[in-house]
Amino acid sequence: MNHSIETENLSLWYGDFQALIDVNVKIPDGQITSLIGPSGCGKTTLLRCFNRVNERYGNVTTEGKIEILGKNIYDPDVSLPELRKAVGMVFQRPNPLPISVYENILFGLRIHSPMRSLTRTESDQIVEEALTSVFLWEDLKDKLKARATSLQLEQQQKLCIARLLPLKPKIILMDEPCSALDAKGTLAVEELMEVLAGTYTFLIVTHNMAQARRVSEECIFMFLGELIEHRETQALFDEPKHEKTADYVQMRYG
């Protein structure tokens, strides 16, 4: 099986605090993998490593190797815009840009292409495709000019996924994408992920174990910066090998 993300002895420090300790992980291609663990265990940090947004906070030291699509992303010849184009990210709270729905979807593309290189028909088509693949086209086709921040939260989060698609990413990172949504919104986003998996590799951080169980094929359990267990979801939940995993999935703490 192919792996789209591979890390080797990945360690990360925020100043003096070591947030990740020798993480070795291989994330399979075209599947949904979930990251679980108690708060502060480094799930989000690990996720943020994969498109190097961590570096923006300053005071971050990284050691080890991360290979994405066979390329070490800490090599000096890696272009950050290209990396972030290939590895999209969805955040905890829906954060569409305060511009129209239409422009939101084209925003990423406009960043990566020269000025005025998109024709009107091309962009119309791109917007339609992106919205169709997240099942928003029917709802929003008459509201393309509406400001994205005026949509319902669920639609906003779907739009945040849709705006990644024109960039044709290989991997989509999700940082608790449903924590701000209600049950219906969560279901809609989960269904969407299931449809899109295959085309894209999903890595999702979640606090909601039921969600991890529902959507993901593989599951990674982390504890205090260390990767404890990485197995198929069903196996991890039913017969955890590690004591800590067992305690966590049986909700004794966390």
Partner: protein
């Protein structure tokens, strides 16, 4: 709460915000009349070249404050977007900006008079001697020192306020959305140009206008004091007073209506 401002709403708001402008316009008519009046006996403002002199003043002060505002904006961008949070230079500049903005603007004016104007030798307020009445020395005569003083005072007054307001405008752009733009692969420059500046623009502009308004108000106030001090009013001071006051009033009304009308849910969204 964060309902989108529709075009109609914005229009309505704009009309409502227009009311201060109308009031200002009505107030401006007598000012304009006073400026146009040519009867020298009636009002001392009026000598044939007073209007051109006033325009000259306005031109210089406006261009100087535009430069000062630009300086302030550039400085604020550098502080806010490039310098790290706990940088010593940032701390130094920010504390000085805080001190400079907290000084009442009248003090700047008095400083300007006492330091810069006294060097010009035309206005002897400091010694308590009455200003010269002969024709050779006209009060507030424009010479190099005086001009430099004017420029420096304006820069001192306008720049710190602009730095402060611009920084606030930049901070008001929501961080999560900024992160999203970064995660889409934008460079620092693209984030600023395509995302932050369009959102914060109106606030930055309004901040600049407010700073300028403050400076003009102080100038007007000082000229007012001067008129009270020297009743003969040889240099068209009352014209200047009215002009500066009017410009200040206009700018302050303009800046507040800018933020009211356009600064809708772009920056603050819960």
């Amino acid at each position: 709460m964060n309902a989108m401002t529709t075009r109609a709403e914005r229009k309505q708001k704009f009309v409502l915000q227009g009311i201060p402008f109308i009031i200002f316009g009505i107030a401006a008519i007598p000012i304009w009349k006073a400026l146009k009046k040519t009867d020298a006996a009636d009002m001392q403002v009026v000598s044939p070249n007073v209007l051109s002199m006033l325009l000259n003043d306005l031109y210089i002060l406006l261009s100087v404050s535009c430069l000062a505002i630009l300086l302030g904006i550039v400085c604020a961008f550098y502080l806010e977007e490039w310098l790290p949070k706990n940088n010593w230079a940032r701390r130094l500049i920010e504390s000085h900006v805080a001190i400079l903005t907290s000084i009442p603007s009248t003090l700047y004016g008095i400083l300007a008079i006492s330091i810069f104007f006294s060097y010009a030798g035309t206005l002897k307020v400091i010694d308590g001697a009455p200003p010269a009445q002969n024709t050779e020395s006209i009060p507030f005569q424009r010479n190099t020192t005086l001009f430099c003083g004017e420029v420096l005072t304006f820069i001192f007054m306008v720049t710190p306020v602009t730095i402060k307001t611009t920084q606030e405008a930049l901070r008001s752009v929501a961080t999560p959305v900024r992160e999203a733009v970064f995660a889409l692969g934008a460079s620092q420059w693209q984030v600023l140009r395509q995302h932050v500046v369009p959102i914060a623009f109106i606030r930055i502009l309004a901040g600049g206008c407010r700073a300028m308004s403050r400076a003009f108000a102080t100038a007007a106030l000082l000229i007012g004091i001067y008129i009270w001090y020297d009743t003969t009013d040889a240099g068209g001071m009352s014209g200047r007073f009215i002009l500066f006051l009017a410009v200040s009033l206009f700018l302050s009304v303009f800046s507040s209506s800018l933020t009211e009308v356009y600064d809708s849910d772009l920056t603050q969204r819960s």
